[in-house]
């Protein structure tokens, strides 16, 4: 009992001392220029996008719509129905033949369950652990940015990659769809017709929602990345968690936890193609992503700002 008391007293004293030290030193160091973070972000972005690994990932993502488009084109050459008309395959695949714009939605529906989050997991897992593994993390910390700011910049870079990856899929699908299929007025899945302009606007909105749906997995990857010094381990863990969550989401007996899985409402982006738009699940999806970003973002912050940087 007395031992415990003693240790508490010691801690309190130490804390006071530490706080004093911190205040003094913080006053001594000059305030970093706020624009400096933008410079850091820019250099991070350029570094990430220039990596061969990132380019390969984006190449695979761009190839998916080409593959789907060509396959549907070949199968429906004789005026047939996709998949025998039974409604199998990714969402929207049956509508591609009536409007090429639907290839954008099909491609996003096909890549969202796995390809897109995997690519994001690789980039997010690499963010901190990759630097630590390569021994460059402490050099990054030499710059007067502070750990929280570095972490924030890393997360912003991963989010920018989420948007970039989604847009790569969407733009590639749009190009393939315009080349292989008719374009023009389109029928929403509710059976009403909308003009091409509104269709394109909805496609852009869907791409943004898909990018936003990856925010949660990006935060999770970043947190995993702060736990280890091995980039490969962080990437593998993130992708492994992604697969686990996808499997759990498929097991009917686990329906109680499913609404809290980050992937549960991913396909709700299809609700944007209803007329009128059905917002319930979309808002749940965005709320869930914000929650994951807050929880794992702050966990990553707690870990990274208290971590010993040894490499």
């Amino acid at each position: 009992m007395s031992r415990a008391d003693h240790s508490t007293t010691t801690t309190t004293t130490t804390t006071t001392v530490t706080t004093t030290t911190t205040t003094t030193s913080a006053a001594a160091v000059r305030r970093p220029n706020p624009l400096w973070a933008l410079g850091l972000l820019r250099s991070e972005l350029v570094t990430t996008v220039r990596r061969w690994r990132t380019l390969a990932l984006l190449g695979v993502l761009a190839a998916v719509p080409v593959l789907v488009g060509v396959a549907v084109r070949i199968e429906t050459r004789g005026g047939g129905q996709v998949g025998g008309g039974g409604g199998e395959g990714p969402a929207f695949i049956a509508q591609i033949t009536n409007n090429g714009l639907f290839l954008v939605f099909t491609a996003l529906a096909a890549t969202l369950p796995f390809f897109l989050p995997m690519a994001v997991g690789v980039v997010a897992g690499d963010a901190i652990a990759g630097e630590a593994g390569a021994g460059t993390l402490r050099y990054l910390l030499v710059a007067p940015a502070g750990r929280a700011r570095l972490l924030f910049t890393k997360y912003a870079t991963v989010l920018a990659f989420c948007l970039l990856a989604t847009l790569v899929v969407a733009v590639s699908a749009l190009a393939v769809g315009a080349l292989l299929f008719p374009f023009g007025e389109l029928t929403t899945i509710s059976g009403t017709r909308i003009g091409l302009g509104e269709g394109l606007a909805r496609a852009l909105l869907i791409a943004l929602v898909v990018a936003a749906s990856l925010v949660g997995v990006a935060a999770l990857g970043l947190f995993v990345s702060t736990l280890t010094n091995s980039g490969i381990a962080a990437m593998a863990t993130t992708v492994g968690l992604l697969i686990t969550v996808q499997i759990v989401d498929q097991i009917p007996q686990l329906h109680a936890v499913q609404p809290y899985l980050f992937s549960h409402y991913w396909l709700s982006f299809a609700d944007l193609m209803r007329d009128p738009v059905y917002w319930d699940d979309l808002l749940r999806d965005l709320g869930l992503q914000a929650l994951y970003a807050a929880v794992f973002g702050s966990a990553a912050w707690a870990r990274f700002t208290a971590k010993d940087i040894t490499a």
């Binding site: 240790s7 010691t10 801690t11 130490t14 804390t15 530490t18 911190t22 030193s25 913080a26 160091v29 970093p32 429906t76 129905q81 996709v82 008309g85 039974g86 409604g87 969402a91 929207f92 049956a94 509508q95 033949t97 009536n98 409007n99 529906a109 402490r138 910390l141 030499v142 710059a143 007067p144 940015a145 502070g146 750990r147 929280a148 700011r149 008719p182 389109l186 029928t187 899945i189 509710s190 059976g191 009403t192 017709r193 396909l267 299809a270 209803r274 007329d275 059905y278 929650l291 807050a294 929880v295 794992f296 702050s298 966990a299 912050w301 707690a302 870990r303 700002t305 208290a306 010993d308």
Partner: protein, 404 residues
């Protein structure tokens, strides 16, 4: 500057270094994890508490008798509305997965179905089990639309003037028929909106039923009276029917049927969002999209109403003999098939399989098998008679004995 020194030279890194050097810094580190924990806690509290807080209690409405409420409901004439309906059906059927769908749609097509996935008869039977979200819109008697929302797809049934369109976006198939009468087409479908259910329930109101006003409630953001319908007779499986009636338009907003055996509601259909403004004209405007497979209904006159399933309430089983009255009425039909179970064309395996799902019973009528759900019970005797109703097993046996 050497890297080892640089860490200490700046901002946050310096703080960390200072802390790391001090004993007891583990506490400070651990304290940071309170942030994500707090975020989780706040989120959990929000998810748990907000629905409870948002429930602002029952609205204060002037008193009304059950008689007045039923009359107002009958006079209610809502022509225009649009909204979202959540419907949950739990008949307690064994979960047969795809087999169940096959049996239901097989029965609907009478064995000669065209197999179009856009055919309303094959689609609305899906409502007989599970949880579904529907969107409904209506603008006068000539234009209605019901959409069944699915994951990444939607099935819409659109009635616009003389045309009835079914559109299945999943398979991009279209079903088209020209309805001779207006509105009649949609009425031939199984009930889906709270109003459809309420109409069925009110048909059953007579001296065997007690009808009371059971306070008020808020449904889809609107003030509503709750009408409670209870069977007076024993021997029925129906426990109570609760209908929430909008206090302004007198339209039913929510319908709940609870079985006498207790537990979750068998049918729970209610608006989660409703508007009485005129829906956009484009809602009912349908043109088959390019490349869609269109199935035309050839002979509208020959169309029979879709067989109704368990949610059909007390009567309405046309073409059958009905024994008894009120809630304990039992529908009976003589299939003439010896052996009791529908074997024959469907194959002996299916007969045996169905037999394994029922309970054998015997009485003065002979021997038979009872198939039970939480609401509907059916007795198939060995000499080929079928007795079915919203009644208990004992009532069925009694009816069979009396009918002998």
């Amino acid at each position: 500057m050497a890297p080892y020194e640089s860490d200490d030279a700046v901002g946050a890194a310096h703080e960390e270094a200072a802390r790391d050097g001090a004993p007891g810094s583990g506490r400070r580190r651990a304290a940071r994890y309170a942030v994500p924990v707090a975020v989780v806690g706040v989120a959990a509290a929000t998810i748990g508490l907000v629905p409870a807080l948002a429930d602002s209690g029952d609205p204060d409405l002037p008193k009304i008798t059950a008689q007045q409420l039923v009359e107002k409901m009958a006079k209610s004439d809502v022509q225009r509305l649009s909204g979202t309906v959540k419907i949950t059906t739990d008949l307690g059927l064994p979960d047969l997965g795809g087999l169940e769908d096959g049996l239901l749609s097989g029965a609907d097509h009478g064995g000669s179905g065209d197999g179009s996935s856009a055919d309303p008869r094959s689609r609305l039977t899906e409502l007989a089990s599970g949880m579904h979200t529907l969107r409904v819109a209506a603008d006068g008697p000539d234009r209605q639309k019901v959409s069944l929302l699915e994951r990444g797809a939607e099935y819409s049934l659109i009635h616009d003037g003389k045309d009835v369109w079914g559109y299945d976006s999943k398979s991009n198939e279209v079903y088209h028929s020209t309805a001779a009468g207006t509105g009649a087409e949609r009425r031939a479908e199984p009930p889906a909106t709270p109003k459809d259910f309420a109409d069925e329930a009110l048909k059953a109101v007579d001296d065997t039923t007690s009808v009371t006003v059971d306070g008020t409630a808020q449904v889809a953001g609107r003030d509503a009276y709750k009408l409670l319908i209870r069977p007076r007779q024993s021997g029925t499986t129906v426990g109570a029917i609760s209908i929430a009636v909008d206090a302004k338009t007198w339209m039913p907003l929510k319908f709940t049927l609870t079985p006498r055996s207790g537990g979750a509601a068998v049918v729970d259909a209610g608006f989660t969002q409703v508007s009485f403004a005129r829906p956009a004209a484009s809602t009912f405007d349908f043109t088959p999209p390019k490349g869609a497979k269109v199935t035309e209904e050839k002979d509208t006159a020959a169309r029979t109403p879709a067989p109704k399933h368990g949610e059909d309430l007390a009567g309405g089983l046309g073409g059958l003999d009905v024994l008894g009255k009120g809630w304990t009425s039992v529908a009976t039909v003589d299939t003439g098939a010896k052996g009791g179970l529908p074997t024959g064309s469907q194959g002996g395996d299916l007969g045996g399989f169905l037999g394994s799902l029922g309970d054998p019973v015997s009485g003065k009528f002979g021997k038979g098998t009872v198939f039970s759900t939480r609401l509907v019970n059916a007795l198939i005797t060995d000499d080929g008679k079928v007795y079915a109703g919203l009644v208990t097993k004992e009532t069925l046996v009694k009816a069979a004995d009396a009918g002998k």
